[in-house]
């Protein structure tokens, strides 16, 4: 069969582009246009008309305001001694390297500047010093701020004890020139630092109950296993924390407190400022052995003195 048509032209091959239906658009132009458009849109959005700034996180702060934020963290630490909370807040700042040493470096910079020209600035820097010194770090602020002004001053007691004239003897001796010479005795009493952890997590157990689903039951006891009411307990999770006290449910015991977890979240529990945080307690799924109903894992945590 001839491939020449009636006009005598040679017919194209069946796979030729001349036999395929034509696209309504040019694929090359579309690809080129998209590249140009996306690049132009990104340039405009990132450089010409940036989104209005809001919801800034602390790590995005400028140096001066980041220093103020750090001062805020350490000021609260000097009040509540909650090391976990302070460190968690420092982590949000994404400080380079060791965050506690970064506090020491920040204190050093502030102590070298006019920031400490007023007493408020000095207090802020001292709070930083207290914070990092208790964690075994050092910085130039230690020397830049006079040691006499550091948070734990020594208590100086001065007592003068005059030397008395000796009693007369039978043997005459040349009359010495005797004068009372006061001796100054200095006793420096330095307050001891309160231990960082009074309590330890003595026991933590899991259980699964449809009635008590996802509960952390906390007990704080003394050396003899007797409950301690009114002890502040803090539960931390990724986006917050809650502080409450033991003994608010006397029917469960004076040492008892509990906390309701949300499914899938991870929590730590501690005696506020007086123990290290527990390991992560995860509100994972489980099945109640008695009822067979699905529930969340619950925990029983007991704190005792170290």
């Amino acid at each position: 069969m001839s491939r020449y048509d009636n006009s005598g032209n040679y017919a194209p091959d069946s796979k030729s582009k001349y036999r395929r239906p034509r696209y309504p658009f040019s694929p090359r132009a579309v690809i080129l246009g998209l590249i140009i458009g996306i690049a132009g849109g990104l340039y405009y959005a990132w450089n010409v008309d940036q989104r209005v700034e809001f919801d800034t996180e602390p790590w995005q702060l400028n140096e001066a305001d980041r220093s103020s934020y750090i001062a805020g963290i350490t000021l609260q630490y000097t009040y509540d001694s909650d090391l976990t909370r302070a460190v968690n807040r420092l982590l949000v700042l994404k400080l380079p390297g060791d965050p506690i040493q970064a506090v020491a470096d920040t204190a050093c910079k502030l102590a070298s500047s006019s920031y400490i020209d007023n007493s408020s600035g000095q207090r802020a820097v001292r709070s930083m010093m207290t914070f990092y010194q208790l964690q075994g770090r050092t910085g130039c602020a230690d020397t830049l701020l006079a040691s006499s002004e550091i948070a734990t001053p020594g208590l100086v007691i001065e007592a003068s004890t005059p030397t008395l004239r000796p009693p007369a003897t039978k043997t005459p001796t040349p009359e010495p020139i005797l004068q009372a010479t006061p001796t100054i005795v200095q006793a420096i009493v330095i307050p001891t630092i309160q231990p960082q952890a009074d309590f330890v997590l003595a026991d933590v157990r899991t259980f699964c109950s449809a009635e008590l689903s996802g509960i952390i039951e906390i007990r704080v006891q003394d050396f003899n296993g007797e409950g301690i009411p009114g002890t502040s307990v803090t539960v931390n999770w990724d986006s917050g924390s809650s502080t409450f006290v033991t003994g608010l449910k006397p029917e469960r015991g004076a040492d008892y407190a509990d906390f309701q977890m949300d499914a899938g979240k991870s929590y730590t529990v501690q005696v506020t400022g007086r123990s290290d945080p527990s390991q992560a307690l995860v509100a994972g799924p489980c099945n109640d052995a008695n009822s067979g109903q699905p529930a969340l894992i619950s925990y029983r945590a007991t704190f005792r003195p170290q």
């Binding site: 140009i36 996306i38 700034e53 995005q60 103020s68 934020y69 805020g72 502080t243």
Partner: protein
């Protein structure tokens, strides 16, 4: 040629819209060197609580006000009152509320809703 030009123009417009969406919403500019006044509200609240706790530690009301000025609030006492009342209304952490109430009281902004939390902490008495 006309088909090519029309396709190009349509694609540029479409690509531009995609680019703007990505640049403003999906992967917006991440700012650094930002002032504290642009902090997210939750961090502003957190900072205010820290300053309030610092006030309880040292009793330095002027220092607390100076520290809060970085948040760019015109009226610091009114701001502290507002934060405190919001914390109370939202049943936030009792200690945080007590810190804020102490600061609000120091600033002369103790309102009836704060009364139950007053005197739980006093400045200079940890």
């Amino acid at each position: 040629m006309i088909r090519f030009l029309i396709s190009l123009i349509v694609a540029i417009i479409l690509g531009g819209l995609i680019g703007l969406y990505m640049g403003w919403v999906v992967i917006p500019t991440q700012y650094v060197n930002s002032p504290a006044s642009s902090l997210a509200d939750r961090y502003k609240d957190e900072y205010t609580v820290m300053v309030a706790a610092g006030y309880l530690k040292d009793g330095d009301l002027g220092g607390a006000v100076d520290r809060l000025r970085v948040l760019g609030q015109g009226n610091i006492p009114a701001y502290v009152q507002s934060v405190t009342e919001r914390f109370i209304s939202n049943s936030r952490d009792a200690n945080d509320i007590a810190y804020l109430v102490a600061l609000a009281e120091g600033l002369g902004r103790l309102t009836p809703i704060m009364q139950p939390y007053a005197q739980l902490h006093a400045p200079g008495q940890p």
